[in-house]
């Protein structure tokens, strides 16, 4: 953007929002140069947006979009900013629309169990607010403290309590969205169950800000459970823990969520020698229900050769997780994470090929204790974390590894990403998962909503060959 255009745009934005909500100094724009996606090290400071704006109302967002639409300036909508696939990187500059000041809770409808909020409220802030009404959103993802409602919807965020309560995608009832021409779309009535119009709100789930800017969301909430519990057990290896996970899923017991993984330093959690893996099962509900479920799960653990962990240690997976998780990426160095969906019967094959064929080929290494990790249940995720390759062509080899992992997951009928979206990282890879007709349909939808391609351009959809 040349300087005179930039000056004009700045004036328009300041006239609309006031000085304090328009950021243009490099010091202020630094946090917007990238999200947590691994771009080339030398590109770390390459992509500055021209401006970041901090609207507080739908009307302000509408004003920003109208300015951008007139000038055909790219808009990058942002929530908490913890995305891992580059969907917030301003590759074409433009205006970064940071929704973090849009934090108001507009309505708590207790009888109908729903809440209407602005998009910038974090999942944690919303739960803090709902607690006073005896309600909760039920969405516990690792980035609970920073992930915003708008961001979680736009990436179809995960919740570790998905088995009982679903993920955010299942909780969206209605959205208000500012479209690329500045019009305000209300996707439908604030109801969960309707068989009338097209389910427009579903289009914005995982849309990564490419179709419009969410300015309001109505979400299904639940009464706070009377009690909660955790059953945790150690196993000889991951595959034994995985067997327990499969039994758990087949049993029909209503657990909230569960995770099986090969751990690192499990002795600190009281694991006997030789036990390398664990499973923890989260239970929420009324007292009698949770007690019965806990007994059932303990029996299942016994039957599958598990060693039951101490209850107080298990309970740390309830509170400490939500309070303290942040991924510890600062300690791991350059790493990336796999969050694929793999059909259960191909799980072992997937991991064997991942670590025995792909990893040595490209020089990626699993992080200690992060080789196997499975979120158990209907929204299961086969995960792992690895150190990026080093040395010559490191970045290229990393991209090739990402591609080959995507090929592996999709060849088994799975998905490249359960919850981190496409962004830049998988922009070309999603062609592995969708037919030409499906991709063209998506492009047509994009064109309909955003004919000038100003909404987060260069993300989500592959370039047309």
């Amino acid at each position: 953007m040349n300087e005179s255009v930039r000056a004009e745009l700045r004036k328009e934005l300041v006239d609309l929002l006031g000085e304090s909500k328009v950021l243009w100094s490099k010091s202020d724009l630094l946090p917007y140069t990238k999200d947590t996606y691994r771009i080339r090290f030398e590109d770390d400071h390459r992509y500055f947006p021209d401006f970041a704006v901090l609207p507080e109302t739908t009307q302000e967002v509408q004003g920003i979009v109208r300015i951008a639409s007139r000038r055909k300036t790219p808009l990058i909508p942002k929530g908490g900013g913890s995305n891992r696939t580059g969907m917030l990187v301003p590759i074409y500059g433009g205006i970064l629309v940071d929704t973090i000041k849009m934090k108001r809770v507009l309505e708590v409808n207790k009888p109908d169990l729903n809440v209407t909020v602005q998009p910038g409220i974090t999942l944690k802030e919303l739960d803090d607010h709902l607690k006073d009404y005896g309600l909760w959103l039920t969405q516990e993802q690792g980035s609970l403290k920073i992930a915003t409602v708008g961001g979680a919807i736009s990436t179809s965020g995960f919740s570790r309590l998905h088995q009982k309560y679903g993920a955010i995608a299942n909780r969206v009832m209605s959205l208000e969205v500012v479209l690329a021409d500045g019009s305000i779309l209300r996707t439908g009535p604030k109801v969960l169950y309707t068989s009338t119009g097209y389910r427009l709100h579903q289009l914005f789930i995982a849309a990564e800000g490419t179709l419009g800017i969410i300015t309001e969301a109505t979400l299904r909430v639940e009464p706070l459970p009377e009690t909660s519990d955790v059953v945790m057990a150690f196993y000889d290896d991951f595959w034994k823990a995985n067997e327990a996970a499969q039994r758990l899923m087949a049993s029909g017991v209503v657990f909230s969520g569960a995770e099986a993984y090969e751990g690192h330093g499990l002795d600190r959690l009281g694991a006997p020698e030789g036990k390398t893996s664990l499973i923890y099962v989260l239970l929420h509900g009324i007292r009698g229900e949770v007690e019965a479920e806990a007994l059932f799960v303990k029996k299942l653990v016994e039957e599958t050769g598990g060693f039951l962990a101490r209850h107080d240690v298990a309970m740390t997976f309830l509170d400490v997780y939500t309070e303290q998780w942040c991924g510890a990426r600062a300690l791991t160095g350059f790493e990336d994470v796999i969050t694929t969906y793999v059909p259960m019967e191909r799980m072992r094959e997937f991991y064997d090929k991942l670590w025995n064929v792909i990893a040595p080929k490209y020089g990626i290494e699993p992080l200690p204790g992060e080789k196997y990790s499975l979120d158990v249940g209907r929204y299961r995720m086969a995960g792992g974390r690895y150190k990026l390759p080093k040395g010559e062509r490191a970045w290229e080899r990393y991209q090739e590894a990402v591609r080959e992992i995507a090929v592996l997951a999709t060849s088994f009928g799975g998905s490249i990403q359960s919850c981190h979206g496409v962004g830049i990282q998988h922009r070309e890879n999603i062609a592995l998962e969708y037919s030409d007709v499906a991709l063209d349909t998506m492009r047509n939808i994009k064109r309909l909503f955003d004919p000038d391609n100003i909404m987060n351009p260069g993300k989500k959809l592959p370039m047309k060959k």
């Binding site: 100094s25 010091s27 630094l30 947590t36 901090l54 973090i100 303290q324 942040c326 991924g327 990426r329």
Partner: protein
């Protein structure tokens, strides 16, 4: 590159590697301003960019550098436990060392430190005014075991002088032998250190260290959490042979030995952990033990207490440079205290008392904000000489 700068860059690099932003959740500055750059993460990215020449240390960069309370609340939320506050303080030193003009709002503090030995533009003689009504004597070499180091804010802010009087009263009730520096006491240098003026701090430190050593005392007791943190952690030479105690630690010992007793109280109180006493020095139990030693008193914890306590907004030069934000942070903490149902907030730092009290007054809160020694002096009862020794 000195070791502090090296550590600062390591923290900034590690943070840039992660960029999760968990630090924002309870950051008192971010909570009020809500801008990405005003957070430990934003500041770490700035440190990295300024030090590598990507961003000029212009006026805005300096504003961001000085928009941190150094409260360390974020470190609880950072799984990697990055020392963001330490990096922020080092960044200020880095900017000062590079000759970058810093905040105008801090100029008066520095001038006052130079001229009067305190940051509050009060004469040296004013420092002893609070002590007119007490029996405490002036410390002289080899004459006493304990030096009561009052600190600039308790000694010079008239609304806070009740604290040194109360602590002196408690020491006298417990028959403790202590001395005061009165007009010879000088600032511990905390203010200078927190705003990045390392050279000024070093001069102050050397002078104070010599003065205290010369007295030959075994312990230095202070009620100011800022002085305590500074003397204990930033005077490495002094702590080798002088024990630095916060008044809460000192009074807790007196309570434990039976030399300090209290009458019954029906008070319902909540305790606010000052950052310098809590997260910096991990003194969480001593004040609570003392409060629990008051018969009948009910102590209710705030939702965020101990290592999770939110900052009052008064630290690290923020109150001087950003009074409005500081006031908002204090109000947020006050509201948290109100939700406990307690009628009194007890705390142990002059800045916490100032900010929380101002927030209570400005918002017509019924909560009483009181420093611990003052609260205890109202309840303490005499003990026979040496009864429990």
């Amino acid at each position: 590159m000195n070791s502090a700068t090296k550590a600062m860059l390591e923290t900034a690099e590690a943070c840039a590697m992660c960029r999760c932003g968990c630090c924002k959740d309870q950051c008192p500055m971010y909570s009020e301003i809500i801008e990405e750059s005003i957070s430990p993460k934003g500041r770490n990215l700035l440190i990295r960019a300024v030090c590598s020449g990507v961003v000029e240390p212009d006026e805005r960069a300096v504003r961001i550098a000085y928009s941190c309370l150094l409260c360390r609340r974020d470190e609880y939320d950072c799984t990697a436990r990055l020392k963001n506050a330490e990096a922020a303080e080092s960044f200020r030193e880095y900017l000062v060392d590079k000759g970058v003009p810093t905040l105008k709002e801090h100029e008066a503090l520095l001038k006052s430190l130079e001229n009067y030995g305190n940051p509050w533009q009060e004469s040296r003689a004013a420092r002893k005014r609070w002590a007119r009504e007490i029996k405490g004597r002036k410390a002289a070499p080899g004459r006493m075991r304990v030096l009561f180091y009052v600190g600039c804010t308790f000694a010079l802010d008239r609304s806070l002088q009740e604290t040194p009087k109360a602590l002196a009263h408690l020491m006298e009730l417990a028959h403790e032998d202590y001395g005061l520096l009165l007009e010879d006491e000088a600032c511990c240098g905390s203010t200078a250190k927190r705003i990045g003026q390392r050279q000024i701090f070093e001069r102050i430190r050397k002078e104070n260290e010599a003065k205290i050593r010369n007295l030959g005392v075994k312990s230095v007791v202070t009620a100011c959490a800022g002085c305590f943190k500074t003397l204990k952690q930033d005077y490495p030479g002094l702590t080798e042979d002088v024990e630095i105690l916060h008044s809460t630690e000192y009074l807790s010992r007196l309570v434990q030995s039976g030399n300090l007793r209290f009458k019954d109280s029906k008070s319902i109180v909540t305790y606010h952990d000052p950052c310098h006493l809590g997260r910096y020095a991990e003194v969480y139990d001593a004040p609570r033990k003392i409060l629990k030693a008051v018969p009948g008193l009910k102590l209710i914890e705030m939702r965020n207490s101990r290592e999770k306590a939110r900052c009052c907004g008064g630290g690290a030069g923020v109150k001087t440079a950003y009074p409005e934000i500081s006031g908002k942070a204090a109000l947020r903490r006050l509201m948290e205290a109100e939700r406990t149902g307690a009628e009194t907030i007890v705390t142990t730092c002059p800045f916490c008392v100032q900010t929380l009290r101002a927030a209570a007054e400005a918002n017509s809160s019924k909560m009483r904000v009181v420093e611990l020694s003052v609260f205890l002096a109202e309840l303490a009862i005499p003990t026979p000489t040496g009864a429990a020794r």
